[in-house]
């Protein structure tokens, strides 16, 4: 591999059809946060995402076929694992996540946490919408099964330490979803939340339609309430 590791922290940016926002997001990171390495995982986009990244010489991995979010993020973890990064952060390509908070998340991780979540609701209250209802329900389910409070389990802004990078890179059922967070808690891993602000998505379409949301909720409930109790403690 000719790629060099220049930082201890890798920012993993999964991107599927993000031509409108990818340049702004990555350019901002490169200009203002050069202390972090980043990698874009293009999940078989059908638009100009890949072309734009190559044109600007961004660090990009192109998946030849669409793997879905879990597969794309796992590619990032495999890359992080192979290059020996200490921390890996999952970061959205649509401009929702703000890089101002990365430093804080890294320092929390260095204080002995295994996973740090950039949460919208540690100190701030949830607004009441259908979407937040889902978030609240998952939060309750995690509280019920692990006794711990995760106020924003669906936040996609998460950073993991070296041990978890290896686990996420190599194991099957470690998807970047709330049920994995509940599984980490069950295994006694330290998960900490820090308050962050998120923006509305800057461009592109939300993946979650109503049917998909219902499917997602069903999946999370069955997984958190039933499946995770019977999984091996492998960590």
């Amino acid at each position: 591999m000719t790629v060099q590791r220049q930082s201890n922290t890798l920012i993993i940016i999964p991107a599927y059809n993000e031509e409108e926002s990818i340049f702004a997001v990555v350019d901002h990171l490169r200009k203002h946060y050069p202390q972090f390495d980043y990698v874009i995982i293009n999940d078989g986009s059908k638009d100009r995402t890949s072309e734009i990244c190559h044109y600007h010489d961004f660090n990009i991995i192109d998946l030849p076929v669409n793997l879905g979010l879990s597969g794309a993020v796992q590619t990032g973890f495999k890359y992080a694992n192979q290059l020996g990064y200490e921390h890996a952060l999952q970061f959205d390509a649509d401009g929702q996540h703000l890089p101002e908070y990365i430093e804080l998340m890294v320092s929390e991780l260095e204080q002995g946490n295994d996973c740090v979540i950039g949460s919208r609701f540690v100190t701030q209250a949830r607004n009441r919408s259908l979407r937040m209802l889902g978030n609240t329900l998952i939060s309750w389910t995690i509280k019920l099964t692990t006794g711990q409070t995760i106020s924003d389990p669906t936040s996609g802004m998460r950073i993991f330490n070296k041990e978890l990078i290896k686990t996420f890179a190599t194991q099957v059922n470690y998807t970047p979803e709330p049920d994995t967070i509940s599984y980490l808690l069950r295994q006694g891993k330290k998960v900490k939340e820090v308050q962050v602000t998120m923006q509305e998505r800057q461009a592109g379409q939300s993946y979650l339609t109503l049917t998909r949301s219902l499917q997602y909720m069903l999946h999370m409930f069955i997984s958190i309430l039933l499946v995770q109790s019977f999984r091996k403690r492998s960590l």
Binding site: P64, V65, N66, Q171, V172, L218, L226, V227
Partner: protein, 110 residues
């Protein structure tokens, strides 16, 4: 008769859940692939616990025996699963084709 059917449904439901959890423990399957089977078990369990529901449905729909209604439900669920499998195989087929093409073209370019 109905008591025997109930116990069979109960046993099958528990075996299904056990097999799925075992496969997840072994990392043989993804959790999302098991969701259908948990729902399947849940339906069987529901029938086992509330046989009145089966009896009521068979009467309303004109089945000769409640067991027939259970069979039809099972066949329906199997067809649903068959459809899901067909979609999965089709998508794998398309992805495999694209992957082969990408690799072949990349080889030629180098």
């Amino acid at each position: 008769m109905i008591a025997l059917l109930q116990s069979i449904l109960l046993v099958v439901a528990f075996i299904t859940v056990f097999v799925m959890l075992h496969n997840i423990r072994k990392s043989n399957i993804k959790i999302e692939d098991s969701i259908f089977w948990f729902l399947f078990s849940f339906i069987l369990l529901f029938f086992a616990i509330f046989p009145q529901v089966i009896i009521w449905f068979s009467k309303v729909l004109g089945f000769e025996s409640p067991a027939n209604f259970v069979f039809l439900t099972m066949i329906f669920l199997l067809i649903v699963n068959q459809y899901r499998m067909m979609k999965k195989v089709a998508s794998l087929d398309i992805k495999l084709k694209e992957l082969i093409q990408v690799i072949a073209i990349r080889d030629r370019k180098q």
